[in-house]
């Protein structure tokens, strides 16, 4: 009977098959690995929380803000360094620079033309992008859209497609196709201010591509073409035939949680923070990152290390009050008559009692010999 976890046992079996040790050797190997495994376990009472926090805290003071740029190289502006790390750990709803990497299937990336075509399909095109002008005709009380033929050809968008999109968006208006423009008119007279609003809305009508993708940049690497995008839209990217679905990555943790689930989000948090740390040439043990990601995602939703996130969920009133907004916590605790069991570090430091960690954790139980 072994105490090793399942995956280690399996790995061990595989190695046994490969190297074929005899029974006695097998026993010896298992025994030694068990000892190593037991030694590697964290002892009860180890302050893993603070060690994790300090393991992030100390190196992040050394992070530099400067990043290098190279002239003439196609690059995208990405938030990196401490700013990005804070973004991930605070669990901000939208990253300041959302990004996706979409590897293409080999079938669709034989020539650079094909890749360009796919890129154009991915990039979001709004009506404003393919028109020369959208103007208000005050006399007729209509909006006139003059299309840019060249841009339409470049992006491979047909007039009929634009018309259907316009019809979908402006159900109350009537469309009229003129010589080289489209006229939008209401059944009744529309006020000028209303008309102006409609004009602004028309500019942002989604015509083609994936919503939210503002930039595309195809980059060739060892395994073929990868399209880097500014803006993230995993759901629509998954629906694309050309994209290798199994290899899509995004830096929008919340979107990953929404589309792929919380386990994927946990992995994304690990990857994103690891990327920043590696970028800065620092070295933080992966287990600290895993631990933090676990804590952030354990409730099934992503919670940041903020007063509204995991820090705000501490059990102790004193611990919460000593972090941020003390008055709020004290008042709320008073209103509901909260009870603090003094089970953690901060509150025990406040009242000057041994913190229940390390040497402060075990209590001594002794049978008194009454006689």
């Amino acid at each position: 009977m072994t105490t090793l976890p399942e995956h280690l046992q399996k790995e061990l079996e595989e190695h046994f098959k490969k190297f074929k040790p005899n029974e006695k050797q097998k026993q010896e190997i298992t025994k030694r690995i068990e000892t190593l495994y037991e030694d590697a376990k964290i002892a009860p009472g180890e302050a893993i929380g603070i060690i994790t926090a300090e393991s992030f805290g100390e190196p992040s003071t050394q992070m530099t803000i400067s990043s290098f740029h190279f002239a003439g190289v196609a690059e995208m502006n990405v938030t990196v360094g401490l700013v990005r790390l804070i973004e991930v750990f605070d669990a901000r709803k939208k990253p300041s620079t959302p990004q996706m990497k979409l590897p293409l299937k080999a079938k669709y990336s034989k020539t650079s033309e094909m890749v360009k075509e796919v890129s154009m399909k991915i990039k979001e095109t709004k009506l404003g992008d393919i028109t020369e002008e959208i103007s208000i005709n005050v006399a007729k009380g209509s909006i006139e859209i003059i299309l840019d033929k060249k841009k339409m050809r470049d992006t491979d968008i047909k007039l009929s497609h634009i018309l259907t999109r316009l019809k979908e968006s402006f159900k109350t208006l009537t469309l009229k196709e003129l010589k080289d423009s489209i006229s939008l008119k209401g059944k009744d007279e529309i006020k000028l201010s209303e008309l102006y609003k409609l004009k602004e809305k028309a500019k942002t009508i989604h015509i083609a591509g994936l919503k939210g993708i503002t930039q595309v940049l195809p980059i060739k690497d060892d395994d073929g073409y990868v399209i880097h995008t500014a803006g993230s839209n995993i759901e629509d990217a998954l629906a694309m035939e050309e994209v290798d679905k199994s290899k899509i990555t995004s830096n929008d943790v919340f979107e990953i949680a929404k589309v792929l689930g919380i386990e994927a989000a946990r992995k994304a948090i690990i990857n994103e923070s690891l990327k920043v740390i590696k970028d800065q040439g620092l070295d933080i043990d992966i287990r600290h990152i895993i631990f933090l990601a676990d804590v952030m995602t354990r409730g099934g939703v992503i919670k940041g290390v903020t007063r509204t996130g995991i820090t705000g969920e501490k059990e102790s009133v004193l611990a919460r009050a000593s972090f941020e907004t003390p008055m709020k916590h004290i008042i709320n605790a008073t209103l509901i008559g909260e009870r603090d069991d003094l089970n953690s570090v901060v509150e025990n430091v406040i009242i000057n009692q041994p913190v229940p960690l390390g040497t402060g954790l075990p209590g001594l139980v002794m049978k008194s010999n009454k006689k």
């Binding site: 603070i50 570090v345 000057n352 041994p354 913190v355 040497t359 402060g360």
Partner: protein, 600 residues
């Protein structure tokens, strides 16, 4: 039409503003207009601004005409020989003073080779792009510019001769370097500001090498023999002041030796150095707690207790005495009157500061370091010619900081010391490094500045050649003697009962938030508790209502003000800060109950 303003007053218009300004500038150069008048044509606002007001910052520039400097070789030659004067050049329109506004209309070349036909002026030298302090660093163009700014901040901290009448002054926090020297490697600015009248540093012999690991992390090693001979010695002056204050009711402080009746009388020993007038004699060696000026003040609350007690009428002792850890020699006493006509007594304490472990030194190239070891001269490496360095500097401080100017100054100083000449190290216009090397070779040394050295301890020859030379080093005002501090127990704050802050009051050293984390991370829970025990108190808690109970010392029993004495009351140990928190919560009408459990 362009409006013309003279000193911000409208005086007229011009049809061709550019020509107008050009013509008038020519007139000024000719001497027909005052030299203080500056013309600016503001193209954006389309107005001409004439300014002759005082308080503008103006600087001299060489006038160029058609891409040719008006300042000729002959002028420079004549200037050198003293045949003509600077004022003449200004009068003749060869040099022109330009203010900030007119500068906008100028196109200024920095170096001779930059001059084109479009340029209107030329800088007198490239060094003018630097400020006063930054231009004091020699060979600064061989180092990162960002360091130059930090470096100039450090030069301000160097000890030197801040004023030549320092013996007559009563300034606080004064340091005087004992043997200040003029730097061998000078900058043009040193002459301009008469640095030789108030130098702030010494020329030392430096060797760039490691020494038994004592100079790791920027530390430097001093030669004990050099220190014994007076290297980097300084005096620290500290004034003490008191005055005979006048109080209500015609009462006055009295400066005299307090007699034993006085409230707060220290001890006879503390007053032993006072002379009859109650002031310490000049030249007295004073130690901590010693009284410098004896003073008696009238009672604090006059009249309040008068009718009840005789003791209240007794005068208070309010002498000026040395704080804990202070010592020195009384340098000067001064008796005078202040603005209010009160008698004023000032005493200046002098303290000799011999360099010791922990003092801060720096070169002029942001190479600062702390003395880590005073090596005996017999253990210090020596060169073939028997030279022992005064300072041993670690080579690890150079590569990442890229302060090449530091290295060049070593060669420059070496050349200067050997040839007996000052070396011009003015940034951009210095004696070229190439020439320095040539000169060094001519003087019989290796041209790369290295020398063969012998290990001072074993006498063995070092395999590597040691880079050594002379350099100007600064002693910075941060000395351990002013900073060293430790305490066991001492004063506490009234409110929180925690130790007070600050060295001067004998405060504690804080175990802060991050230090706390360190204890926790090590699992040293009980040690952490002990460290925070400084404000430990024992309080009585009523187990019925959870509030603080009262211990009656007279009746030797405890009772709860709310539940009486029939309830169970237990004593609990906690930090006084927490007790204070509970009290403050109670003041906010919040009811913080303490529910006691069994510990075992």
């Amino acid at each position: 039409m362009t409006d013309i303003f003279l000193n911000e007053k409208f005086i007229g218009t011009a049809e061709h503003p550019k020509d107008f300004v050009k013509q008038f500038r020519a007139e000024r150069r000719r001497g027909a207009l005052p030299l203080e008048l500056n013309f600016t044509y503001d193209e954006e606002m389309d107005e001409i601004l004439l300014d002759s007001t005082r308080g503008r910052a103006r600087r001299p520039l060489i006038v160029l005409e058609g891409g040719k400097s008006k300042l000729t070789e002959k002028h420079i030659e004549d200037l050198k020989n003293g045949e003509i004067k600077w004022e003449k050049l200004v009068k003749e329109g060869i040099i022109e003073y330009i203010d900030a506004a007119e500068e906008e209309n100028c196109y200024i070349a920095i170096n001779d080779e930059d001059v084109t036909k479009e340029h209107t002026h030329q800088e007198i030298g490239a060094i003018v792009i630097l400020g006063l302090l930054t231009s004091l660093t020699p060979y600064a163009n061989y180092g990162p510019g960002s360091k130059l700014i930090k470096e100039s901040k450090m030069q301000k901290q160097a000890l030197g001769l801040y004023a030549t009448n320092f013996l007559l002054r009563m300034n606080t926090d004064v340091n005087i370097l004992h043997y200040p020297q003029i730097p061998i490697t000078k900058s043009f600015m040193h002459d301009v500001i008469s640095f030789d009248k108030h130098p702030a540093g010494q020329n030392i012999v430096i060797a760039v090498m490691s020494y038994e690991g004592y100079n790791m992390e920027d530390a430097i090693i001093l030669n004990k023999a050099s220190v014994d001979r007076g290297l980097a010695r300084s005096s620290y002056f500290k004034p003490f002041t008191t005055e005979e204050l006048r109080y209500q009711g015609g009462l006055v402080d009295e400066i005299s030796i307090p007699d034993k009746e006085v409230k707060g009388y220290k001890s006879e020993k503390d007053y032993r150095l006072l002379e009859e007038d109650g002031i310490v004699y000049t030249g007295a060696k004073v130690k901590e707690e010693d009284v410098l000026i004896g003073k008696i003040s009238p009672p604090r609350f006059l009249g309040e207790f008068e009718e009840f007690s005789i003791a209240a009428n007794i005068k208070r002792e309010s002498s000026v005495s040395l704080n804990h850890g202070e010592n020195g020699i009384v340098d000067m006493t001064l008796l005078t009157e202040n603005e209010e006509g009160n008698r004023l007594v000032q005493i200046r304490l002098r303290n000799q500061r011999i360099p010791e472990i922990g003092d801060k030194f720096a070169s002029r190239h942001l190479q600062k370091g702390i003395v880590s070891f005073l090596a005996p001269v017999e253990d210090i490496p020596f060169s073939v010619s028997g030279i022992t360095p005064d300072i041993i500097f670690s080579p690890h401080g150079i590569p990442s900081r890229m302060s090449i100017s530091h290295l060049i100054e070593i060669i420059a100083g070496k050349v200067g010391a050997l040839s007996g000449e000052y070396i011009d190290g003015t940034t951009f216009d210095a004696l070229p490094e190439k020439d320095l090397r040539k000169m060094l070779k001519k003087l019989g040394f290796r041209e790369n500045g290295t020398e063969m050295f012998y290990n001072g301890i074993t006498g063995q020859e070092f395999k590597a050649k040691i880079y050594s030379g002379n350099m100007y080093y600064l002693k910075l005002k941060h000395m351990v003697a002013n900073k060293l501090h430790a305490r066991a127990t001492g004063k506490i704050q009234l409110l929180t009962r925690q130790p007070i802050e600050g060295r001067s009051q004998g405060g504690g050293l804080r175990v802060g938030e991050m230090e706390k984390d360190c204890f926790v991370a090590h699992g040293a829970s009980l040690l952490l508790k002990e460290r925070f025990d400084s404000d430990r108190t024992t309080v009585f808690i009523c187990e019925e209502c959870g509030m603080l109970a009262i211990y009656d010392n007279f009746k030797n029993r405890e009772y709860c003000p709310k539940c009486g004495s029939s309830v169970k009351i237990s004593s609990v140990e906690m930090s006084y800060a927490f007790k204070l928190l509970i009290d403050e919560l109670k003041a906010l009408c919040i009811y913080p109950r303490l529910l006691l459990g069994r510990k075992y």
